[in-house]
Subunit: 236 residues, 6 copies
């Protein structure tokens, strides 16, 4: 799935933009709930602190886990794919539906919808009951199931665009646009372009207020290596 | 002012992006109220219908006048600078203040804030009582007045970024960032980068629903030349 | 249609109230979208500036186009028929449905619902796909289609009143009330009575703040005749 | 105070409108809290059930106590003066402040503001700490205190109109308008005109749904005389 | 029904908590509308003023009638069963449905949902058209009807818990939990436990602001005995 | 601080309630930002999975970190102290202010306020710039600073109760109540009593929907021991 995501990013990247795709070294194989989300943050933090320094970071999971924490530990822009996709959608449609994977993750997306101020733009979040890892299985009928849900969305939700609610759906954009004849937005592509936009404007995460570097303090036990030491923690 | 705006756009444009700046041939010299806004739409429509065809259009007035009308008559993305700036701001700060020109235009910005779902991100819209055209006058103390209002915003609004509420402030970004040490977002630059992002993703305005081409029908009198003839009106 | 609207107004007008009905001399024959709305404002402004001076003005299109612009250029009360109908409905029912014409105009009404604070009172906006001009065609089955949609509204929306979402439906009030046995509110009638109410209270549009006369400034090209000259523009 | 209220109503009433002013025969001399409000409903109900039958009823207390209960027991329109004043204000100003009596009643007004969907139009509710009955005392400096609060409202709240938050302030309208040069809205006058408007449109309270007559059932003890007997209770 | 309610309370009460159940001596036999609600407050007030002094009071009607009035006349905590049930539900489910009695009372519950800030937690209020008094009739099929509505709620509302919308449903909790396998919350039990919680924390109703004792003033006529005499009225 | 928190819990616990206080074995010494919050979840999860099994769990940090994740891995009720305190406050005051530690954590509390539906009840969140660990330092003037902020809250926010925005303030309740003469609510005490209430009602976290046990799947690297194995993970 990391390859698929990298490919989706590279397809839209501007000349000169290098996409470095990283699979978290620790944490869930897929993220399908609050617990998975919470436990995925450690691996994300590891990538930012230990991985290659980037001009911007993208969290390629539609729940945008760890977004605010990540923004504290670097001043490079950090984007979630859900927020990137939803913001992009508002520019080309007055209403969109999110088509996502499992019913149980819908509440997470709905919480993001409210956090991002998308209550009026996002007409409905729809679950397909296609599990994240099933998306990779060519034998599954995931593609047909997702298409059918998108069609229901257009018929019932007063939406005029579709936001794909999982990074693993990135390769379905063209297929669905052909079938549906409305804009279909993949968060990975949206986040890459939004990241380029922010970097191009010279914008960095504000370090005034709640996104300032973590205050220096000791962390105990298994996490002692993460003890913030002040600004030096950023991009260590 | 058109030159200043073009310059602000070109400064951030990616290689290969051509900025075509147009001054409306009919309408108000500056836009500072509901009437100015409504009367500015005709010139905007003229530009889209008669001007050079573009991959995306930017309405370089912070009130985003005519945004929805413009989206009906072309399938190229159309962006307002207020919406572009506010959406960009949400990626790099959890709260921002808008610093704009006249007190009387504040209600227009506040209406946009609600339309765009920015109630929680936009902490306050602040007027400086600097008139739009005064921004071009090097003898005025517009610059100092705006800086002072930005400083008050940071001190009082729990904001960690500034959105400049007028296209005519585009040349103040670096000056203000140096002084304030927080991100300062100009809508013109933001709109150029967001437009590039949408074009780069291959996204066009959805033609399903309320942004479909205007229905064919006769327009009377002075406006008969604008009678929609169906999809052919687009990019005529 | 102008005659029908005038008739609807005269039917409810108090003794002494004179209804002057004007068809816009420039602009769309019917208003069914964002572009139609934007292009209709010029004719509206012409009527206010050049037509007979009135004690109050009513914009007899359910999208309330140009409402704020109109309020700047006169101190007589200006009412939209959508706002008048919705406010009236709140006094006699705890929930209402709007039954309107085309699906594509629904988003415009929904935006008004939010602007006017009617989110809790307006339970749903329902489109009938009856075009505005079809309402005038006695051969069409517009009447039956609208009745059927009203019946669905009462059955499904928890509404106890109907707001008619088009000035062209004004002559259906008694017919629908007989069939539905709930209040049916036509915006034209509502606006006439609300206008009488405001005039009777001696209330005029506040000229403090954003509804003050447009600031004096030159308008270019085709619109140069509209250049605001300060308060003198009002009721010129 | 009943005379003052009647006078305020008669001043704006249309020819042919008869104002019947009634002082509640049981209940608080003034209404300044939740308990006063709740206890005032009995007298209100008595007036509607036993008093002269009217074409419309007005509850002349700014908390609109008993509004929904009253709407169940008659099909004539029932208006609260707070709702009438706030709705009227939205037609002539984009923002208003309410200037009311005691700090402790502010929460009641703020609750009405939300119930009526006025969150965006009502910029602030301001208490003067002038008690209701003090308004009748010519020796008090109530008038000056209220003027000063209105001036603060205009200076600080971005409001362009004032809504008077107590029926007992009805005689201050002209005085305050002269001083403030903005619209000042008295709820009694507004309710009279709105009532005329509704009656003029032939609108009655919807009897479908929650405002239908109270279901027949026995009431116990002191209230047994109020036992609803079905539709017959209306205008008994 | 009072016995059933008392039983529901005693079943969950902690050792040492005494439940004193009182049937209102005046007012409606059941509460199924705005008028019933308003008229029930007198009996509630009588109970608080004349009944045995309690450490906390519970208003065992799901509309929470008279809640704010009651909080003024005592400093012991006063709880409504609707608010207690809804707040309790938020701790054990991210979304709940309310299953209540009559369609016409739904608007009352929906108003409470907004007042209590439960718009996001309460997914839907569902009426069963089972009248309150029918709940006591063993021959009725109330139980089956309510179960069926709960099942629809779980299938359609994205809810994961049920709040019972009537005190008279208190004895259905175990039956419904067995059938539905989700938490089912009865407001009487919730209010008893919340009351114990508040008393256990030593919390009393704040007497600063709008819940202070009613201001001393004469009440007229039938209600003269209720004239507030200042703080002494509390727990007289 | 763990002792202080345990003490605050025991002080209000009912007879028979055992308070087991645990300091997280891994993670930040105090929680003052998004990163601290995210990194504190691992230790919380360890406590629930490996610690003594409890009838209910309390997360004694005012940001309620990890609340939803924790609710997935056990069916015992899990309470955050912020949610418990805010919900408790609504029962005894119509408006409250939160007085918390650092300015930078205010955004976290404000996000909780919205998530919990407390926008209307919580009038303002106030920072004191007292660091969490400073609360334990008897030499600091934390106590006076907090008292002063509470006094400002009562004077300026229209609040009638105070919610303490940090577990480390638990020992200030009586001191502040004496000084302020309004209810002061500590989240630890509130959570203990709310937990007792839920357990007393026999309520458990709903396992239908998003709080069901984490789906079985492999976790990689450092977190492989946390791989959910289905329901068996609960209370392992």
């Amino acid at each position: 799935m990391t390859d698929l995501i990298a490919e989706a990013g590279r397809e839209v990247a501007a000349p000169g933009t290098e996409i470095i795709a990283a699979t978290s070294l620790s944490g869930p194989a897929s993220i399908e709930g609050h617990f998975d989300e919470a436990m995925s943050v450690l691996g994300l933090v590891d990538e930012i602190l230990d991985g290659p320094r980037a001009d911007a970071y993208i969290i390629a999971c539609f729940g945008d886990p760890g977004l605010m924490a990540a923004r504290e530990i670097t001043d490079a822009p950090v984007l979630g794919i859900a927020e990137a996709a939803m913001h992009a959608a508002t520019f080309i449609a007055t209403g969109f539906s999110v088509v996502t994977t499992l019913e149980r993750t819908r509440i997470i997306t709905e919480h993001l919808v409210r956090s991002y101020g998308m209550e009026h733009h996002c007409r409905r979040v729809r679950a397909t009951e296609v599990a994240v890892l099933e998306l990779e299985n060519p034998q599954s009928n995931a593609r047909a199931t997702i298409l059918a849900e998108c069609e229901r969305a257009l018929a019932e939700d007063q939406s005029s665009a579709i936001v794909l609610g999982c990074a693993g759906m990135a390769d379905l954009v063209r297929y669905l646009e052909d079938k549906l004849q409305v804009p279909v937005i993949d968060g990975v592509a949206a986040a890459v372009k939004m990241a380029e936009a922010l970097v191009g404007m010279g914008l960095k995460t504000s370090k005034r207020g709640d996104l300032a570097p973590p205050l220096p303090k000791p962390y105990r036990g298994k996490l002692s290596a993460y003890s913030p030491k002040g600004p030096a923690l950023i991009a260590s």
